[in-house]
Symmetry: C2
C-alpha cells in the first residue's frame, strides 16, 4: 500500500481563465482516519463550473479557498480503512473529498454508492450532483408542461444534456444551444433534442431563436449567461420561467460585464427568473435519485463522459471544461 498522497492545491488565484500554473501538484503522507472517520482512495474526480468561484477567495454561498488548500470537488472512491461502523474497506463512496488520491473524511460526510446501479462514475454525474441539479432545477424551478418550448444553454454539458432529456420525457419541445457543430449533432442525433444551434457559428442568435421557437420560449434553463441569455430573454413567452443554474460565460471575467437591460420584458411577459443551488433540494435527493436511476435503466437518459486520466491532469481537465471543450460530463480518472 502506498504511503505517499498526491494532491493538487491552489498555487495562485486565477485572473481570467485559469492557467495550469495556478495549481500545484504536491506530495504528503497519506492521512490516517480517526474515530468516526474513513480513509478513501479516489477513483474519479469531478470538475464542475461552480469550482471556478471557489478559487477567487470570496465567500458567496460557500467559502472561497485559501492559497495552498486542496482544490474542492466531488470524488467517487473506494474505502481503504474505516473507523466507523457504517463503512468497511472496499465500499464505494462519494463525497466532497477534493483533488487528491487519498482523503480522510467523517463517515457522515460520505454517501454509499451501489456499484450495481451503474458505472461508479455515474455517482458524479447522472446519479449525483449534476443529475440532481438538472432534475430539481428543471422540474421544480421551471415546472415545464407538455407541449411547451424549453431552451437550454450549455446544452451539451453535464447538466444541460440531462435537462434537455428530462424536458423531452415531460413531452416538451427542446432546443439546445451549444458551442460546436459536433455538440449540436450530439444533441439532436444522440439525445433527441428537437433542435439546436452552434452559437459560435450563428451571427444572429435572435433570428435563430425566432426560427427554432416560433411561439416563444416558455422555459429557459441557463447555464451560460451573457449574450446568449440576452437573446433568449427577448424571446420569452407569456408566463415564462427561467432557471439560472450557472453563468459560465461570466466566471472568468476580470471586470463585471454589462449587457442590455431586460427587466421590462419580465413585466410585459409576466415572467420569472430564479437562481438556485441544488442544495436547496437536499431533503428530496433520494426521490430524485430514484427517478433518475429508473430513467437510466429504462434507457431514457443517455450520457457521455469526457474522461481525462491522471490526478496531475485535473487542472487541464478543469480548464478545458471552462473552455467548453468537453461533451457531456468532464471527469478525471485517478485510479482503476
Amino acid at each position: 500500500m502506498p504511503t505517499i498522497n498526491r494532491r493538487i492545491t491552489l498555487a495562485a488565484r486565477p485572473v481570467g481563465m485559469p492557467k495550469e500554473s495556478d495549481f500545484r501538484l504536491e506530495e504528503s503522507p497519506i492521512p490516517r482516519p480517526g474515530g468516526g472517520e474513513v480513509l478513501v482512495q479516489a477513483l474519479y474526480l469531478s470538475v464542475d463550473p461552480y469550482m471556478r468561484g471557489r478559487l477567487t477567495g470570496v465567500t458567496t454561498y460557500a467559502r472561497g479557498l485559501d492559497l495552498g488548500e486542496v482544490i474542492v470537488g466531488g470524488v467517487v472512491g473506494r474505502v481503504v480503512e474505516s473507523r466507523d461502523p457504517r463503512y468497511e474497506a472496499g465500499d464505494t463512496v462519494e463525497g466532497m473529498l477534493g483533488w487528491q488520491e487519498h482523503a480522510v473524511a467523517p463517515a457522515k460526510a460520505l454517501r454509499k454508492i451501489d456499484p450495481a446501479a451503474g458505472p461508479v462514475s455515474s455517482a458524479l454525474y447522472v446519479l449525483g450532483m449534476p443529475g440532481l441539479t438538472a432534475y430539481f432545477g428543471l422540474l421544480e424551478i421551471c415546472r415545464p408542461q407538455a407541449g411547451e418550448t424549453v431552451v437550454v444553454s450549455g446544452a451539451a454539458g453535464a447538466v444541460g444534456s440531462l435537462v434537455g432529456q428530462i424536458a423531452r420525457i415531460k413531452r416538451c419541445r427542446v432546443i439546445g444551444i451549444a458551442g460546436s457543430d459536433e455538440k449540436v449533432r450530439f444533441l439532436i442525433e444522440e439525445l433527441g433534442f428537437d433542435g439546436a444551434f452552434n452559437y459560435r457559428a450563428t451571427p444572429d442568435y435572435g433570428a435563430k431563436l425566432k426560427e427554432l421557437c416560433p411561439n416563444g420560449v416558455d422555459v429557459y434553463f441557463d447555464n451560460v449567461g451573457g449574450a446568449i441569455t440576452d437573446a433568449v430573454m427577448r424571446r420569452i413567452a407569456r408566463h415564462a420561467r427561467v432557471a439560472v443554474c450557472g453563468q459560465i460565460s461570466q466566471y472568468n471575467s476580470v471586470e463585471p460585464e454589462t449587457g442590455p437591460r431586460w427587466l421590462s420584458q419580465l413585466v410585459v411577459r409576466q415572467a420569472k427568473v430564479e437562481g438556485f443551488l441544488v442544495t436547496q433540494f437536499a431533503e428530496r435527493y433520494d426521490a430524485g435519485l430514484r427517478q433518475l436511476s429508473a430513467w437510466l435503466k429504462e434507457g431514457r437518459l443517455r450520457y457521455r463522459e469526457d474522461v481525462v486520466e491522471g490526478l496531475e491532469n485535473a487542472p487541464r481537465a478543469f480548464i478545458r471544461m471552462l473552455q467548453g471543450k468537453n461533451i457531456g460530463k468532464q471527469l478525471v480518472k485517478v485510479a482503476e
Copy 2:
C-alpha cells in the same frame, strides 16, 4: 347639457420624454349610448407610468395606440345616461374611458363605485388599479415575512407609497428610494417608513443601502429599474424575492440601456425576480379591495393625491409624473 366633447388624442409618437406637442386637444360631438351602453361624464383621469408604453405603437401586453386615437387610461365619472339596467343616471363608475370629458362604454366594462367608501378619486388609487397592484404585487409575488427588510423604488409614487405601508402592516422593515428630500420626508414622517434616501443626492447607492439594510434586502419591489436596481441587486439576501412592477427609468430611453449583469447573484443568493401585471390577479380583485378598504378605514393606509385641474392639462400631468415631480397619485380633475 353640453353637446361638445373635448378629448386628447395622440398627435405624434413621443421620442424620449413625451412633449405636450405629442398630444392634441380635439372637440367632437358627445356620443350617444346604444343598447347595453352607458354615457359617462369624467370627473378624474388617472395618469400612470404604464401609459408610456401604449404611445409607442408596439403591442406588448396591450395594443399600442394609433395616431389620432384617444389616450387610454382609467377614469372615474358619473353616469349621464344609461341604456343598461345595471346603471342609472347619477351613479359613480370607474373604467378605462380615456382622456376625454365624456365617453360611451359597454356597461360590462364599468365598475360601480360606492361614493360612501371614500372620495371618488380613490377608485383610481387606493381602491383601484394602483392599490391592487401594490397589494397583490407585494403580497403574492414577494410574500414578505415579519422582520424582513423590504426595499421599494419609486417609493413616493402611487404604487410605491402603498407597497411600503402594506409591508409595514406586515411588520417588515421598510426602506424607500425616492427622488427628492421632500419625498424622503413624506415617506418617513407621514407614511412611517423605517428609512429612505434621495437617490438624486446620493453618490453611492450601494454604500447607502449597506447602511440602511445591514442584513441585506429580503424583498425588493421595483418600480424604477436602472442604476437603482443594479445597486439593490448587489445587496439582496439569501432567498430574496424581487417583484418587477415597472421600470420608469427606462420608458423614455431611445436606445435600450445597458447595465451590469447580475444573474450570477441570483444563483449565489437563490433569489427570484418576477415581473407581473395586476390583471393576473383579476379574479381576486374583490378580496383585495375589501382589505384595502378596511385598512383605509382603520387609518393604516395614508395617501396623497397630486391633482392637476382641467382636461387640457392631462399631457402636462402625465409628463410631470414621468419626470417624478408628483408625490403620491397623479390625477387630473376634469369636472366637479
